[in-house]
Amino acid sequence: MKREHFVVRLNNVRKTFVMGNNRVDALKGISMEIAQGEYISIMGPSGSGKTTLFNMIGALDKPSEGRVFIDEVDVSQLDAYELAWLRCHKIGYIFQTFNLIQAMTAIENVTLPMIFAGVHRDEYMEKGMMLLELVGLKERAWHRPSELSGGQQQRVAIARALANDPAIILADEPTGNLDLKTGAEIIKLLKSLSRERGVTIISATHDIKMIDVSDRVVWIRDGMIERIESRDKLKVSVGEVA
């Protein structure tokens, strides 16, 4: 039997934080698979382990137990250089707090991952401008984050996440700090990226609007997967709620 290629695969991932004498089990054995091009939302109440799971998938933190595979590569086996390469090329990150580098302009933020990747200046400037145009901010290229609104900053962050054509975009509460309308615009933008570019989008979120666009929703509670719902089922359950 030919095994399907998964862009992300988690195998019984556990994460325990030790704070003084307290042990907090943030993740209690999570296993899941995500295929190329899927739009996945990770939902759950605060403290359920969403962000911890996000950090595991993004190779930003090491699991206490279990394995994380990105493009079928075991992340725990990578050295610092390979890990940096993976974060630079394979994954684009979007955060609730935007996390743009304050000292840099929009275009400099967008081109930074390409500089790390060793792209030539002409090429990265051209692509940076193209990406800013894609998110509708070409005219604001030379503005610093402090001169941009929240929604604009998040769009710069999305352009930055796309810089090295990653296979995965990881978004941690991307609409958490935005008003309803701007949040909806960001979700629309992410959806169109997933559809047109075939990028896998994994988003930890509280935002019910995300459900509409997701292929699957993973519900997390107390560090465990409560249920995974696919799109067709979602329609029904959301319909019932409404």
Binding site: L60, A80, Y81, Y93, F95, N99, I115, G118, N164
Partner: protein, 225 residues
């Protein structure tokens, strides 16, 4: 053309980019940087002032009349030896002790300021690592920033120290002191000031930035001030 994508370990940050990013960071945090530079400047001013004063006194002494020599001693400068050789004046044990103390206090001050400055930027460091930065990129950027501060502090400090030494000697001994200024001694003064200042600023930032660079990105990003 850069061939990217083949080598799965190649992550780069050329030095000209390090210099540029560090310069931008310094520019945007102007006040904080100015305060750190000021503490460096004060220590260097003290050092440079002491060095310059002794240099000029040593240059004047062989040519000084008895009246002028009397004036110098009255002004509080004690010749270490009464020989007619060149190095009549120099740092006494007390002077050296004071200088060491000034440098030590300055080092503690800079380390303190840099720990705060780096802590403030944990999230930025975490973000850079998410974008693919290696630990060494972070260290390089911070070292470069402190190099800028060290250079500015040493130049300003040396200039101020030399000026103060000249003005105070001119005030005490008369305008004659200006005839005994030696360019070589001034350059030596600036050079030594620069070396001390750069070493101080690098020592001050090394510990905080290495600690910060080695953090897991998830922990750096979680950090709230």
């Amino acid at each position: 053309m850069v061939d990217h994508g083949k080598l799965s370990r190649q992550i780069v940050l050329p030095w000209h980019q390090v210099l540029r990013i560090a310069w931008q960071s310094v520019k945007i945090r102007w006040t904080r940087v100015a305060i750190t530079t000021l503490s460096l400047m004060l220590a260097i001013t003290f050092f440079s002032y002491t060095l310059m004063t002794f240099d000029i006194l040593n240059a004047i002494w062989p040519h000084a009349s008895d009246i002028l020599r009397h004036k110098i001693i009255l002004a509080g400068y004690e010749p270490l030896g009464l020989s007619s050789g060149h190095r009549v004046f120099g740092a006494s044990a007390k002077d050296i002790w004071l200088l060491m103390l000034a440098i030590l206090v300055c080092l503690v001050g800079i380390t303190n300021a840099q720990i705060m400055a780096v802590t403030e930027r944990f999230r930025e460091i975490g973000t850079m690592k998410c974008l693919g930065a290696l630990d060494t990129f972070i260290v390089k950027i911070f070292l470069c920033e402190s190099l800028y501060q060290g250079t500015a502090g040493s130049l300003a400090g040396a200039f101020l120290g030399i000026m103060l030494a000249l003005i105070s000697l001119a005030f005490k001994l008369g305008l004659k002191v200006f005839f005994f200024i030696s360019v070589v001694s001034m350059l030596k003064n600036v050079g030594v000031s620069f070396i001390i200042s750069v070493i101080l600023s690098l020592l001050g930032v090394l510990y905080p930035c290495v600690m910060a660079a080695r953090m897991e990105p998830a922990i750096a990003l979680r950090h709230e001030i």
